[in-house]
Symmetry: C2
Subunit: 335 residues, 2 copies
């Protein structure tokens, strides 16, 4: 089952069920007005939404054309957005960045940060930055939307709370990371609004591509139509999503509709950009730059600047973008 | 105008207008089903809520008895909870704590952290901790609930976006602060769910007690009925709420219903506990302990343990608890 949220003039948008090929959609308004309402009442809503999805895919319902440009993020605003860092090769590559700490490189417990969730960007929303010297970067990630999880939850409770899976862009202002980390209060200014693919889908509907609490698909990244990376989200994910949820619930309950990210998808290798068509590459620029520093003594790949475009998508074996594309261009606030 | 949210079996509760003396309330359901809905449509909702408040206080409406124990936090879940650190004497006192950093002591720009907002506790909700060795502390704070603020907002925009004022308890697990700060990703486990006074009220209804974007009232703190502090929230607040909002909006928009805290209320002095009845004291235990370390060479005041009770309230010149009391007892998760 694939879900999306269409713009309707209200902050939470309108929940729709989308056909498996992303061509058509049908309003889920008679089941739940928006995705948060469905999350609040998932036991009742989920079977009804599944039934609607089956009818839509069987052409028993015509529905309407699904226009991803008319979609919000699946949750245009959420009560919680927690980002983890589950891929060790990402941590290893960025630990050398100024302002990062050795303690960041840890494999016992996953690192988590509390992200801003009041304003989550649509897949095609512009990335607006207050100035062009903030070392703007993207981070291609997999995220899950969960049901309520009690404090001290087990891995089994955590795993069974995973309701939906999606792909996201954790927009990062690398120059402000240093300030944020030195302040000691954690990421704040360095992590402006996060963007989401238009589609969130159930783990069951991912079939064999979802197993061991991980998405086993490459996350393809293009900047200005050039391939930067296609690391597989199922490879090198040291902590799975159940681990991340257990860690997040150590000292508190997690409410329904909480979004948890797995951190920048990253596979071990010693490549640099430009990437061959079968290369693995990187899901963020910071990693590409540290690989260049190691190989050439200096970073070559620039951070994003106004006018640049980044495209992020998970692709299946047939090459289909199953969650739809994140496709964002960069703008200055003053423009 | 005083607003509260009563339990009604739904996650967001039911919005009510409360009489000025906190004795009675009336449903605001015909104006907005819950406080977030009112925040989403404040220009329309606010005058209608004000009119209802006037009728209630003039006894034109009888309403029902207001039972603060039946109240949620004004926003039982919010899309954003940002906590600042606006009182320099708090930062000065806690900078000596293990794990804190010299850079925390800064007076140029306020420090902010992104708090978890998916589960905000009622004033009388228990504080549940996973173990009794986490150095459980409270932080008595003033908070504001704001309307939408655009990225790069001016102080004037920020100030005029302040919709409601309340009092809160930023529950803190001091032992986990060290881990969280060393990880470099910021507060996470050290800051479980925050609790709120039952009442949020408009700045205008605070009269002279709200000026210069600050609440000018003492925040009275009692632990097991012993006075720990009554610092004035209007004294020593180096950054006012407009400053905090401007800082929060440096790299992103803030959505309606965002809650911003001013940090632990703290006034400069060299007192220690036990406090005289006219003493100033402390709005958190960590400050009391560092004052004791400075004076006696060791901390005497213990952190909270299961069975302890903390009461936090803002009191006006007549001694009234104008937002209602936060009154929480500590429990172990396993109990």
């Amino acid at each position: 089952m694939k879900l999306a949220t269409l713009r309707n003039g209200r902050p939470d948008g309108q929940l729709v069920v989308v056909s498996n090929d992303l061509a058509r959609c049908v309003s889920a308004g008679r089941i739940a007005p928006n995705l948060q309402a469905a999350m609040d009442d998932w036991e009742r809503a989920e079977p009804a939404l599944e039934a609607l999805a089956i009818q839509l895919d069987a052409d028993e319902i015509t529905g309407q054309v699904f226009d991803p440009k008319a979609a919000h993020a699946p949750l245009p605003r959420a009560y919680q957005w927690i980002d983890g860092s589950a891929y060790m090769s990402h941590l290893e590559r960025v630990r050398s960045l100024k302002g990062s700490k050795d303690e960041e490189l840890q494999s016992i417990r996953p690192l988590l940060y509390q992200g801003g969730s009041d304003s989550l960007l649509a897949a095609t929303a512009p990335i607006v930055v207050p100035s062009d010297d903030l070392a703007l970067d993207f981070e291609g990630e997999v995220g899950v939307i969960i049901g309520a999880v009690p404090m001290g939850a087990t891995r089994e409770q955590a795993s069974s709370a995973i309701r939906l899976v999606t792909v996201l862009n954790d927009v990062s202002l690398r120059r402000l990371v240093v300030d944020d980390l030195q302040n000691g209060f954690g990421f704040f200014h360095a992590k402006p609004s996060t963007a989401f693919a238009p589609i969130a889908m159930t783990p069951a509907s991912l079939g064999a591509n979802w197993r061991d609490n991980r998405l086993h698909l490459p996350i393809r990244i293009e900047v200005n139509d050039k391939l930067y990376g296609q690391p597989n989200a199922g490879i090198g994910m040291h902590f799975d999503f159940a681990d991340l949820i257990v860690e997040a619930a150590r000292t508190r309950n997690l409410s329904a509709g909480t979004i948890i990210g797995g951190g920048t998808v990253s596979n071990p290798h010693d490549q640099t950009l430009p990437l061959k068509s079968d290369g693995i590459g990187f899901a963020c620029i910071a990693e590409a730059r540290t690989a260049e520093k190691a190989k050439y003594g200096r970073a070559r790949t620039p951070f994003l600047k106004p006018g640049d475009q980044v495209r992020i998508r998970a692709v299946d074996a047939a090459g289909h973008s199953i969650f739809g594309d994140i496709e964002q261009s960069v703008f200055l606030l003053s423009d």
